[in-house]
């Protein structure tokens, strides 16, 4: 339902000025090709700055690409960006347009601006607020809500006035588990009843693994892999992730520990290692016995996550993906 070909966008270099260093030319999206199928939850996963939001802005008609094509449900969005608003609903990261409205008025106004008449807009507003559990706070301005509640209210506004494609840019940021559950149930219901397609931007690997049908992994503006989460994880199936947390400092006097250090990604007291299963067994045997065990605070063994896939595929950022 959504086909993207050769999408390229370059931000021009900025010359250094007094007090502001210059930035080189940046390719925010680099020859991106994607196919999103009807009724699936398709994810864009990558660390901050990978080009996810730039890509989404081009898909929603908010930004013109330098090159390439975007076709959604048979409509050419590059040639007719204004049609995007009539095909999709977009939940951006910013809520400043709605901040001073009450939750109810934000949803109702958005519905009206999506072409609903007053009665429909009010009926859909009531239904969506009820569905997401927002009715008790319907009369409060968004500004006065917590980050997660505000995000949920913006999500409610995105759902009023049905669209076949929902584009959600990190929808669950700051939400508690109850609100997250409300979001994913609402998405699931629309998918089951109306075949709604969802394009989800996230940097949360756990969320990506649990809710996505397929995921494109972005790094520095390029799609470095695109598959189901399970399919991607098979690529690193031969590896086990070992995490070691030391009490104070690692016991480097133990030769095996000193050898492990070369393969570890260190973050404070925490070492993360990606090892073959038999190596992992040996490492665990080392650290759970003798002098090393006295220095060990905690350890975990885990099967690889999408974060490991990202790193194994050559993702440049060591941090930026979130497990929460």
């Amino acid at each position: 339902m959504c086909a993207v070909r050769g999408l390229t966008k370059t931000y021009a270099a900025v010359r250094a000025r007094r007090g502001a260093p210059g930035t080189p030319e940046v390719r925010a999206t680099d020859d991106v090709a994607l196919d999103i199928r009807r009724g699936e939850i398709f994810g864009l996963l990558g660390p901050n700055g990978a080009g996810k939001s730039t890509l989404v802005r081009q898909l929603t008609g908010l930004m013109r690409p330098d090159r390439g094509s975007v076709e959604i449900l048979g409509h050419d969005i590059v040639a007719h960006p204004e049609r995007a608003a009539r095909i999709l609903a977009y939940l951006g990261q910013e809520s400043s347009a709605l901040d001073e409205l009450t939750v109810a008025l934000a949803a109702e106004t958005t519905g009206r601006l999506r072409g609903l008449d007053l009665r429909r807009a009010r009926a859909e507003r009531d239904a969506v607020l009820e569905e997401l559990g927002l009715t008790p706070i319907a009369g409060r301005p968004l500004k006065k809500l917590s980050g997660g509640q505000r995000r949920l209210a913006c999500f409610a506004a995105a759902l009023v006035g049905e669209r076949p494609l929902l584009v959600l840019d990190e929808p669950t940021t700051g939400m508690d588990p109850v609100a997250r559950r409300a979001v994913w149930s609402a998405v699931d219901r629309r998918r089951a009843e109306r075949g709604t397609t969802v394009l989800l931007v996230t940097h949360n690997v756990i969320e990506a693994e649990t809710v996505l049908d397929r995921v494109a992994v972005l790094d520095q503006g390029r799609v470095i892999a695109c598959d189901t989460p399970a399919g991607l994880k098979e690529r690193v199936a031969g590896e086990v992730r070992v995490e070691l947390v030391w009490r104070e400092s690692p016991p480097l006097q133990v030769p095996e520990v000193a050898a492990l250090r070369q393969r570890a990604v260190e973050a404070g007291r925490r070492w993360t290692l990606r090892l073959a299963p038999e190596e992992a067994r040996a490492a665990v045997a080392t650290v759970t016995g003798g002098a090393a065990f006295a220095a060990l605070d905690d350890f975990t063994l885990a099967t690889p996550s999408l974060e490991d896939v990202y790193l194994a595929l050559g993702g440049a950022a060591q941090q930026g993906l979130v497990r929460a």
Binding site: G61, R64, G74, L113, G115, V178
Partner: protein, 275 residues
């Protein structure tokens, strides 16, 4: 993450029935028509103003009242007093329409809030006009209070107060169009604020001071400012038998500038929405 219902993850994606083969374009959702969406934006903005802008309206009104009290010592009365009262009333409109609206649109543009409107099928004119109309109508009480206070202070007749009901929307259209255009065109949000404040200061200085005492160059600048015609229109009506043709002429200038500046603001919105 336990918060994800298992049904979401477990259900396989439906078959890719529409990849590969190019199918007829799907039907587009409805377009929001101009007037209903204008009304929706107007209502939303007005409710927003109620919450956030009432203190600022007080500031605007007190400012104008203060200016009139100050001018009481300078102006002898008669024709000059008419300009002071009329100018101080229109400054309330300038403060809200020019200054606050340019700040609002500047903030909206740079915080990414315009994306919300740009991804809704709403005509750009509805967003700009709705916001401008809400800001302009929000100034009505402040303008009225200022005018009544001024008339009592200077001993001017109150009978022509109704003229303000025409002056506020017309001067409001001209000034809020300018304010919106400044906010949407300024390269940085601070510049949007600065432009709005400069415009407000110009309206204040050139509107409140009686024109007879100004040097030629300043009087020319005064003629270029759209708020001047709102001031003139109201000031003319204090006389015993006002020349209504001139009053209508002044208002027509406001209306004309309003149409042009709102058109520019709409164009600027379109430009800012798709980068």
């Amino acid at each position: 993450m336990s918060a994800v219902p298992t049904g979401v993850a477990a259900r396989p994606a439906p078959a890719a029935e529409d990849t590969g083969t190019r199918r007829a374009a799907a039907e587009l959702g409805p377009r929001a028509r101009l007037w209903p969406s204008l009304a929706a934006v107007y209502r939303a903005q007005l409710s927003r103003a109620r919450v956030a802008r009432i203190p600022l309206l007080f500031v605007a009104t007190f400012q104008s009242v203060g200016i009139m009290i100050m001018m009481r010592g300078v102006v002898s009365g008669g024709g000059e007093a008419e300009y002071v009262v009329s100018g101080a009333s229109v400054v309330v409109v300038a403060y809200v329409a020019l200054n606050l609206l340019s700040q609002y649109f500047g903030h909206l543009r740079f915080s990414g809030g315009l994306d919300h409107y740009a991804t809704l099928p709403v005509p750009p004119a509805a967003v700009v006009l709705g916001a401008a109309a809400a800001y302009a109508s929000f100034t009505v009480p402040g303008t009225m209070v200022t005018a009544v206070f001024g008339c009592l202070l200077f001993g001017l007749p109150l009978g022509n107060l109704w003229v303000l009901l025409a002056v506020v929307p017309l001067a409001g259209a001209a000034l809020s169009g300018l304010g919106a255009a400044c906010g949407l065109l300024a390269p940085r949000p601070e510049l949007a604020t600065l432009l709005g404040q400069l415009g407000m200061s110009a309206a204040l200085l050139l509107g409140v001071l009686p024109p007879d005492r100004m040097p030629e160059a300043v009087r020319f600048a005064r003629d270029l400012l759209p708020s001047t015609y709102g001031v003139e229109a109201y000031a003319r009506t204090f006389g015993g038998s006002p020349d209504w043709a001139y009053v209508a002429g002044d208002m027509a200038v406001c209306a004309g500038v309003g149409v042009v500046s709102l058109a520019v603001a709409t164009w600027a919105y379109r430009r800012a929405a798709v980068r």
